[in-house]
Symmetry: C3
Subunit: 434 residues, 3 copies
């Protein structure tokens, strides 16, 4: 299926998400590969890479590949299927080992996960680093279990030496310096956390490819969370440290809640500064978190010695909305409108990054705007609106502050200031400082 370009960007993103939603993803395995293959149809230059199980990446060992085919709980007496993986891939604890036995209710309970506070929701649970089997179900389903029954638990799953896969999409620009976007593809049927991330990344990559000219190289990576960023860093650390000027982890970008900001560890990188300027002046209302609230791959990107300039701009932050990590984080919770708001934010951010430079005025003293018809010549009509903004911009073009810093001083959006830069350049009132 090709993407219908008559739909709005938000609708197009939501359609792609609908396709990806049913796939059973995990940190390794067929689900990840199928997801990456679908994205490669849109971006043929997306490279699908692999690292063998057992490889050492920094402090970590790449885990075995996981394959699951079937999973259910059946009441022995009635042969009734209580939960079935076919209905919802969240029903099995992700990365579970295989099992096939009959257990009583007490034994079964040790392997069941539910949420009393959200009785309709199936929680999302994983057990990546310890062999374990388990099921997830809604509290309503759990309450209907008969404590006196015996249950057959069946999971047809295996772990074997395979590979860990990830996708890498590089879009070259005039400079080797890079803008970096990282998103993860390891969650099964969950929409905001995390499908909104790879979907937005896919559409931002299209936007970047369509830019009339690109100053920066753009790197989009699609990885399993944590182990994927560890692996990717272990193979690319030097390049990333040399080239990345700003980076963002893309996740939780499709709901209709307010925007959220989670800073890099350093807190004042270019990524942070651009994000905050646009959040303050293009978005307005947003929630500001601390790096102590981190939880995704920024944990690795900002680790001491890695120190990439990576922060997050999300809609509702992971862990902070009630649908998080349950079956309620679905295709209704994420909407075309929510996705499009994120798309609009990040495309503005890209435009600001492309044009963020340090300028110096070309005149000593104010330029004579009257001579250039940039100033209303009758005194009390003169210095308002655009002209005021132009001169305010110029007066801070001292060869030391970049565009974003000046926008912050002026209390305006750096995106809005781009039109001012154009005029200032056209009339040769500023020159770039290298």
């Amino acid at each position: 299926m090709s993407i219908n370009t008559k739909k709005s960007i938000g609708q197009q993103m939501h359609s792609l998400m609908e396709e990806l939603f049913p796939i059973t993803r995990s940190i390794t395995g067929e689900g990840v590969r199928n997801t990456l293959k679908r994205l490669k149809e849109i971006h043929p230059n997306l490279e699908i890479k692999e690292i063998p199980s057992g490889s050492r990446c920094f402090d970590w060992i790449v885990p075995k590949e996981w394959k699951i085919e079937e999973a259910f709980i059946e009441e022995v007496e009635t042969s009734k299927r209580i939960v079935d993986f076919k209905n919802n891939n969240l029903h099995v604890v992700n990365y579970s080992v295989g099992v096939d036995k009959i257990v009583d209710f007490e034994e079964l309970k040790k392997h069941l996960h539910y949420r009393e506070d959200l009785p309709d929701a199936i929680p999302y649970v994983t057990s990546y680093y310890k062999p374990y089997w388990g099921f997830c179900l809604s509290y309503n389903q759990f309450k209907e279990l008969n404590p006196k029954s015996r249950y057959r638990v069946y999971i047809k799953a295996e772990h074997f030496d395979g590979v860990l896969n990830y996708g890498e999409l590089i879009i070259p620009g005039a400079s080797e310096k890079e803008i970096f976007f990282s998103t993860y593809i390891c969650h099964p049927s969950l929409a905001n956390d995390n499908l909104s991330g790879p979907v937005l990344a896919t559409f931002l990559a299209k936007f970047v490819k369509n830019l009339p000219k690109r100053r920066y190289t753009y790197r989009f990576i699609f990885i399993p969370e944590t182990i994927g960023s560890i692996c990717y860093l272990s193979k690319n650390l030097e390049t990333l440290k040399r080239n990345v000027v700003a980076g963002f982890v893309l996740t939780c970008l499709g709901d209709e809640g307010d925007f959220s900001y989670l800073p890099s560890r350093q807190g004042n990188t270019l990524a942070d500064r651009v994000a905050l300027n646009l959040l303050n002046h293009e978005v307005g209302k947003f929630k500001r978190y601390s790096y102590l609230d981190r939880g995704s791959d920024e944990r690795q990107y900002c680790w001491p010695g890695v120190d990439l300039p990576v922060c997050l701009v999300m809609k509702s932050k992971f862990g902070e909305y009630k649908e998080y990590h349950t079956s309620l984080d679905n295709l209704e919770f994420v909407t075309p409108k929510g996705l499009e708001e994120s798309y609009n934010f990040y495309t503005k951010l890209i435009e600001v990054l492309e044009n963020n430079r340090t300028y110096k005025v070309t005149t000593l003293g104010e330029p004579q705007l009257g001579r250039r018809n940039l100033y209303h010549s009758i005194s009390h009509l003169g210095r308002s609106g655009f002209t005021k903004l132009l001169v305010d911009f110029l007066v801070y073009c001292d060869g030391e502050r970049d565009l974003v810093e000046i926008a912050d001083i002026l209390g305006v959006s750096a995106y809005r200031l781009l039109e001012v830069v154009k005029v200032a350049k056209k009339y040769q009132l500023i020159e770039e400082v290298s």
Copy 2:
């Protein structure tokens, strides 16, 4: 007329303003010259300089000289003079081209300026950089015009190659380092903005001349706003950058409103620090503006690459009081009391600047004040008032902080601290750090 020294300083300043008020000033021409000539009577070493029309100064071209002799609007049918320049020189748009024709009301309206919100006020309007003719009148006058009448508009004015004039008064001190005061002389019959500036400058220059000894050289300049500071900078930039340690634009200094502070672009120069200390501790209540609220010659002095340490301490700030740029900004709005408050502020500021130095204590550990009779020897009467202030001052004399910085730490006026410095010097408790 010599200035009557039996009057209070405020009254003397107001008297000088009364003399200067009627003169028709503009950015060039006879009005500026006559104003400067009057000031030269008081300060014979004031030099009146000129720059020919058409000269290039940085990005600007020096405009032609403007001469106006007569201007009126007359209702043709009745021969009634509606407005006449003889009654108030604000009635003609400043720098208007000449005109003599009969127009209908519709045409006339395009050339009339009034203020509905201030029905008695004649606004002050200029058109320096585009040929235009126009009249200013009160809204009450405007309402009485008959829309069916025809009107003769007559302005006898010409623009010709002449000169731009300004005044420069230099009072040498022990050092080449300078305190710089800039004020403008281009507004016609307007009192607070701007005659209060040149009048205060004139009296501060007298104060400076009378100082028993002068550490700094003082430079007072009297220029047309904007084009004047551009021209002056283009001729003196190197000298000013090398020598000026603190500078101030003098304007809006005669009304009885609260003080206002507008920082330099850098915001933390010596000029700013002294001004803020005295505003905080000698004045108390004042309004603090941002450099984004700038509007006078600080626009040029703080331009990137110029970067002089220049800020403003005003009474009611230009643009922020209703009388601003209208005939209501007159000799009643400006009072002897208002002028004298400004005089007192700036003379204290000069005394602080003259005595602002960096000191180092001469003892390790507190000095034994008891031996010097600087300390009440009975314990509970000891460390209060002056002694407390003296020791607090000493403990910050670490050879790094100047007087103003120490005053800020102590939360006291730097002016008040001058008496402490005297005692500390007398008892050799401190020594100056060069």
Copy 3:
């Protein structure tokens, strides 16, 4: 008497204070010597030093020794003793000259000190640097005086060339770098200000001696206030400047009021940072003062050119509680509970100082805690409590921030973080940066 170790630490401290309380101390003389001798019984390596009267120390002259044997006021007519030094050594102005004469009420009044606002309290008054005689009494006593009576005033006291004494207790550690505690021993029968200081110092020295290993050398000094710190500095300045990494003036540490903090002059020394972290996170509620509120030997230790990293953590600050410098600052105002709170604070502070180091993580990217059983393997149980704190700590171990700075960023007690450090070290997740 040996200290009964079955009592609580607070009770032990209070018992020692009871012994020391009656001694008539002053800046010089027998009282100081007897106090030091008692402390030397507890710490035999306490050295009692002396400096001859008349010695020059920095800007100061060491005063003569003071000896007092008897002092009273007697109503001549009735032979009634109004006040008697035997009842309370506060009755005589400390360091008074001798006197024996009969005076009328008017003359007497010039030499009487009382507090109308505290009618039961005998104030504490000194006259160290000017010859004077005087008596202190309660306002209730004063009111009973008969204005028509004559009074015999008798003080048997003398000043003579002797010595100024102080005590110095050095407990060596692995490093020459020192933790410095200064306390004063010049006040007579006053408990919070100042006996709580030397008593706490004595017990902290015991604590330090019992540490299983000592990184730092510890220096405790027991001096007369002001003149003592001046003298001590004049003899030890170079050593102290080279070695002291953190220092504290111990005083006002025995009442049950809230803690108080008075910063060093610089305000951000290691001493300040540790004190503030523990006050914020181990104490919670405390009152923060400015260095302008200083009053004890921090005046000398922070003097420009001395610049030792010395601050104060007190209970109720000197001058800020009503009992201050009166007979109400007694053995009831100071309690075992109050003393023990201070002891607990400072022992934690010492443990933090001993263990405050700068660490660097040993892994690039997060360590795989699962492999080390430091992380619950099932996802939603994983990152909470101790594990969260451990990883938060690690992520700031960048080789630049010390333990206290990281604790401040995390918003936790540095003392609590010590257990995290132990685990991180055990699993070789961090290494020390020298």
